[in-house]
Symmetry: C2
Subunit: 134 residues, 2 copies
């Protein structure tokens, strides 16, 4: 998995530095804030500057390896992207995040029918109550 990402980085002309590997080590398939990531790095004794974390995430998002999502409050979240294109169910009570796979072709079709706008990407998040909190 991560091996693969490292290859992609190289292919794109980026160096495989220690900080970059360390950031990749703490990234997950669920969304984390920059602060989450920095905290995890500290816990692992990995001394990576916050600015470097930002720079690394920027590169990874560019490569399409990491997704950048905004939740309803303020926070920007980052997560590793798997092959399955999924969305989030965010609990507004406890903050838990569930993944869900949806078929959006119907939606995209609606857009194409209504306008000439060329859709390249989209964001879709759901907010509500998880099983625990309802």
């Amino acid at each position: 998995m991560m091996k693969n990402i490292l290859k992609q980085l190289r292919k794109a002309g980026y160096r495989l530095t220690k900080p970059r590997k360390q950031v990749l080590e703490v990234l997950t398939f669920y969304p984390q804030s920059v602060t989450d990531i920095v905290t995890l790095l500290k816990k692992k004794q990995a001394k990576v500057d916050r600015a470097t974390v930002y720079r690394t995430l920027q590169v990874l998002v560019e490569l399409g390896v990491v997704g950048k999502t905004k939740f309803n409050d303020q926070t920007t979240m980052f997560e590793l992207l798997s092959d399955d294109h999924h969305h989030h169910l965010v609990c507004t009570d406890c903050g838990a995040v569930e993944d869900i796979c949806l078929d959006e072709t119907l939606l995209i079709n609606q857009v194409n029918k209504q306008t000439k706008f060329k859709v390249k990407s989209h964001t879709l998040e759901f907010f509500g109550l998880c099983t625990h909190c309802q």
Copy 2:
């Protein structure tokens, strides 16, 4: 329209102050950043402090009169909500925003079928190229 909002404010126990009315005057049905709003207010000679703009927007969002959206970059956007529940087509080239009305019941149904999560709200934005920029 705005009369109606003022009534809602009153009913909720808020005072109809000059700053609140002035903010409402510059709000639109398309998304604007706080800076946009502050600039418009200045143009109109309305002296409303940035902090007051934030506080007012917070109240209006709470009342469900104003929608708060995040676009892909960084900026938080605010817009008056009309009765029609619509979504945005954001041009990644020129920044233009089109509205579009979609029927998401199919989507919500998919969610309900797959999980016990209780969906209260959702966000859905599309990014791509407008007719001009493609």
